[in-house]
């Protein structure tokens, strides 16, 4: 009897310490990256860091603008392509599609979300880069194909499964009563879907978009492989870009040889961390509110 209680007490301590450990990772990452990037804050002003595009590590000039611009371009392109497709597909699957269509589609979405980024990258190099090159010839621009457009295209296929599955969850949690009420008043199926369900699900759709945005923001390898990695401000979708995650991944080996370089790379990590934590918190609060409201 005693032994059972002792085991129980121990389990409380062990499980709680696991919990504290896993939660403190969040703080540890923030603080760790903060400490490591602190030396850079001391030598350069914030506006120099974020609004200058001179990236000359050898002379100690670290302006992040080109990398931030690269990240924003790629993220924006991927969202512009993926949001309408995901929302329409999710509405279709949830409200219009035959059960067998759903049976075919849902596993595909699962598989897509499980395929590793590096495989998306290989696909991007083999299919999208040549596609972008011919597209640029078609519109009369010049491009090697390795461009922010290629990066955005790869990302849009990568984030679609995430977005669709969240939107499907939200739509699925809306009670059928709403649909029945709207249809019985003579609304068409589309009117019901768009004016009742989509409106009801709007916060959830927004949260799905924000979560996918932060996924796109931090994705490294797939983007790195197709977007050219030149530290310059992209002027059009056919230009090469150099997103923040790619910057970190490409240069970690040289960290030690150039003073302050490690700080600069950790700063890039810190920027990603802060932006993503911020977006994620917003999205989760929205989803949480929606969940309690719909129940």
């Amino acid at each position: 009897m005693r032994l059972r209680l002792l085991k129980d007490r121990t389990s409380v301590i062990v499980f709680w310490s696991f919990t504290v450990l896993s939660i403190s990772t969040l703080i540890a990452i923030g603080v760790g990256l903060g400490i490591k990037s602190w030396p850079l804050f001391e030598t350069q002003s914030l506006s120099d860091l974020f609004f200058s595009d001179t990236w000359r590590p050898l002379s100690g000039k670290f302006g992040f603008l080109a990398f931030i611009a690269g990240t924003l371009w790629v993220t924006a392109i991927s969202l512009i392509l993926a949001v309408p497709i995901s929302v329409l597909t999710a509405l279709y699957l949830s409200e219009f599609a035959h059960p067998w269509v759903r049976k075919v589609f849902l596993p595909i979405i699962d598989v897509l979300s499980g395929i590793p980024p590096v495989v998306y990258g290989v696909w991007g190099v083999l299919v999208l880069v040549p596609l972008v090159t011919s597209l640029s010839e078609f519109v009369g621009a010049f491009s090697f194909g390795y461009s922010v457009l290629a990066g955005g295209l790869v990302l849009s296929l990568m984030i679609t499964p995430l977005m669709i599955s969240i939107i499907l969850d939200v739509l699925g949690s809306i009670p059928t009563v709403y649909r029945e009420a709207s249809l019985s008043l003579g609304a068409t199926r589309w009117e019901t879907t768009w004016q009742i369900l989509a409106r009801k699900a709007r916060p959830g759709i927004l949260a799905a978009v924000i979560l996918s945005l932060s996924r796109a923001f931090g994705e490294t390898i797939a983007v790195l492989m197709v977007c050219g990695n030149m530290p310059m401000l992209p002027q059009s979708v056919f230009d090469a870009g150099y997103p923040l995650p790619a910057l970190i991944a490409n240069n970690y080996g040289e960290m030690m040889s150039i003073p302050l370089y490690d700080s600069a790379l950790m700063m890039a990590g810190l920027v990603l961390f802060v932006v993503i934590v911020f977006f994620n918190l917003i999205a989760r609060v929205v989803l949480f509110r929606l969940e309690t409201e719909l129940q």
Binding site: R4, T220, I276
Partner: protein
């Protein structure tokens, strides 16, 4: 009246169109990997380690990367499973009374889930250089464990939350301790746990960004945790950037191998968890 129905038809067309676009993207992805990878697949690829002139297109395979991926993912999934089950039990059993605490912990896990693997990698690397450590398989395992822990927790939690409260209460009323009740809960959640393991393994096997910093790369078989170890995503990544066609071809074959591993994992997860869920009490 007509216009309303017309609108519905048009929108339905648009919806089918976007589903079709998605389908085309998906088929193109799968087709590309298979059609480029298959010609370069050989028994040598999966059964030998890189030979002398491997990176200029001579003999050898990627057994080192396959084994590295398998070891790193299984070990870190095992650690994450142990820690993750503990956290889920705290959320659903030990701390259930403290609603605010529980929802805060869930929120933090969700945020951790959203943090990109490159940030985990950079963080682990920062820690490693502070302590003067070199890249090693062990460092890779620790980083991947941190990375997949939130996935594990979320996925198991999702299932344990669905377990009816009455079941927990009746177990308690028989005089069971919390730990013994936990065992009952976990058995009920078994199908979900299988899914959680598979999701985490798939994520871990495919992750390149964090391992780039932490586990390094090596042509030898990974047998010692303090030595660098190769992984499949990095093998693909490095070989693809080679200018030699033969080496690039091996990257395609490696991508095919990785994709097949992931497909097998996710399909068997579906199968196992559907078999296991026969015995669940609802």
């Amino acid at each position: 009246m007509k216009t309303r129905l017309l609108k519905q038809t048009v929108m339905k067309g648009l919806m089918i169109l976007s589903a079709a676009i998605l389908l085309i993207g998906f088929s193109s992805l799968i087709w590309t990997i298979f059609s480029h990878g298959l010609p370069y697949m050989s028994w040598e690829m999966v059964s030998s380690i890189p030979g002398g002139g491997f990176y200029i297109g001579k003999e050898g395979g990627i057994l080192n990367a396959i084994l590295g991926t398998v070891i790193i993912t299984t070990v870190s999934a095992a650690i994450a499973l142990i820690i993750g089950s503990g956290v889920v039990l705290v959320l659903n059993l030990y701390a259930k009374r403290f609603r605010r605490t529980v929802s805060t912990i869930r929120m933090v896990q969700d945020v951790l889930f959203g943090i990109p693997s490159i940030v985990y990698g950079a963080f682990a690397f920062a820690i490693m250089i502070s302590f003067g450590l070199r890249t090693s398989m062990l460092a890779g395992i620790i980083t991947v464990t941190l990375l997949i822990l939130p996935i594990m927790i979320r996925a198991i939690d999702e299932v344990v939350r669905q377990i009816p409260e009455d079941l927990v209460n009746s177990v308690f009323s028989l005089g069971a301790t919390r730990l013994e009740t936990a065992g009952v809960l976990l058995r009920q959640a078994l199908p979900g746990i299988v899914t959680a393991i598979m999701l985490s393994v798939a994520r871990a096997a495919g992750d390149a960004a964090s391992l780039l910093f932490t586990s390094g790369y090596s042509d030898n078989l990974p047998f010692s945790p303090d030595q660098p170890a190769a992984t499949l995503p990095l093998a693909i990544f490095f070989q693809l950037s080679s200018p030699i066609a033969e080496v690039q071809g091996r990257a395609y074959a490696a991508a095919l191998i990785l994709t097949l591993i992931i497909l097998i994992i996710s399909l068997s997860a579906k199968w196992i968890s559907s078999r296991l869920s026969k015995h669940r009490i609802r």
